[in-house]
């Protein structure tokens, strides 16, 4: 069973001419947790939508062992769980239970199996007991956790989260971090929240202008201030990377490939900032 992403020369242009992706090469191995960092408009969300066939561009893309493009979309969508940024977009059913059940029912599972999955998925995000509530009765942090449950219930092989920590208060953010850390799955976390990335992911990919400009251990990338600055990113004032307690789930640290700066490290923007 493959849980990886293999993207080679992925290009995508929106109908209005805006370039979303401009030749993305990305390889993610089974069990890796990768933070996808980048400024606004870098192509992060576009990349995410490619991964389960919601957008289709040029280039080679294989996700979870399934070629994206000519394969079975249903199988692909079961394998890749997308968690959207705004939980109000993701939770569209009248009750939490029905929303979590939506995916598994679409997969054609019988009702008992679906109910079991709903219970487990809600328990995994510590939201058991709110199954019959309506989404509008929940706080943003709770809705975001339920949104993750809606995807977990489909038992995807790859979890892709878009800005999971956006607009959360510190406590909800910490709880979300703990919940995600306990999920043992290949994970792609699209985020602006660099400390969140540092705490959750061992590898980071920096996307800018539709292509990958850096790829390597999360801490090394986050420690490279000129690189971050060149792409409109920065750590919060006073944030000390050295004090981040990175605790990989299940006591194993996944090794990330060494830092690679694409373009041979001669990024003119970076050079400018370094000077």
């Amino acid at each position: 069973m493959s849980c990886a992403i293999h993207a080679r020369g992925l290009r995508f242009r929106y109908p209005n001419g805006v370039v979303g992706l401009d030749g993305v090469d990305l390889h993610v191995r089974h069990g890796e947790r990768v933070a996808v960092l980048g400024p606004n408009g870098a192509g992060k969300t576009t990349l995410m939508l490619q991964l389960n066939g919601l957008l289709r561009g040029e280039g080679e893309l294989e996700v979870a062992g399934l070629p994206v493009g000519n394969g079975d979309l249903r199988e692909l969508r079961a394998a890749v769980g997308l968690v959207f940024q705004d939980p109000d977009d993701q939770l569209f059913m009248p009750t939490v239970a029905e929303d979590v059940a939506f995916g598994p029912l679409n997969l054609g599972l019988d009702r008992d199996a679906v109910r079991e999955r709903v219970d487990r998925a809600l328990a995994a995000v510590r939201m058991a007991g709110i199954a019959d509530r309506a989404p509008h009765q929940l706080s943003l942090g709770q809705r975001r956790r339920v949104a993750i449950a809606t995807v977990l219930a489909m038992r995807p092989r790859l979890l892709v989260l878009d800005e999971p920590s956006a607009n959360l208060d510190p406590r909800a953010r910490r709880e979300l971090l703990e919940i995600l850390d306990a999920i043992d799955r290949t994970m792609l976390v699209v985020t602006h929240d660099l400390p969140f990335a540092a705490q959750l992911c061992d590898r980071a990919v920096l996307l800018s202008g539709g292509s990958v400009v850096a790829d390597g251990p999360c801490r090394e990338i986050l420690a490279d201030e000129p690189l971050l600055a060149a792409h409109d990113l920065e750590l919060p004032a006073g944030f000390d990377l050295a004090r981040v307690s990175y605790a990989p789930a299940h006591g194993r640290r996944r090794d990330a490939p060494p830092l690679r700066l694409h373009g041979g490290g001669h990024d003119p923007q970076v050079a400018e900032v370094r000077r």
Binding site: L82, F84, D88, F92, P94, A101, A134, M154
Partner: protein
Amino acid sequence: MSAHLHRTGVAGDPASAIHRLDPRAKLAGFAGITAVAVSTPLRAWPAFGACALALGAIAAVARVGPGTVWLRSRVILPLVVLVAAFLPFVRGGPAIDVGPLSVSEAGVATFASVAAKALIGTVSAVLLAATTSFPDVLHALERMRAPRLLVVIAAFMYRYVFVIADEARRMRAALAARAYRPRHLGQVATLGRMVTALFLRSYERGERVYLAMLARGYAGTMPRLGVLAFGRADVAFVAALVVVLVPIRVVAELAA
């Protein structure tokens, strides 16, 4: 607006015999009561009385208090009654003097009947909403073969009306925070722009929701997790209403 939205939902004792009925039984029952009241000839007071008694009994069993019924009815009742309020003034026939006004006797009687019908219909809807969650009503409609598209639209409306109302509230607060208080017609244009912005936001949200649906394998039909079971209690509930209301309705027809 939000105040009214939050005055919806299940009320009374959620464990009552009425709350536990199959939503199809309740939908059929309340629709039946309304149909009897609306279709009964004017001035057939025994039939209206029977409908009112049935509603009163249901409310008592469900422990939905008169306060709740009144608060919720108040939202729609004035609109319904307003239409009938002109009847006493436009009907001909013998007139009665009420202070400076002269009203038609037949008109007053018609008004009373129409108001009674409106009241029964409104209270039926209020009791249905107080004893059945909206998702359950939708489920019942779907199972009773209501057009699927309408049910789906109603479901999305229920889910997003709160989100949109929240957005509208925030926008109004933002306008008020910058001292917006429309005093003449020219300033109302701002409200128009606000409505446009709300529409565009909702339209964009619609696209994102659709993507989220596709991402979880949506293939054209909305799947359902729950199953409805029409049991003995449900049969008894519907049968009791039929036994009480149908004969009275028929007698009213013959008497008229």
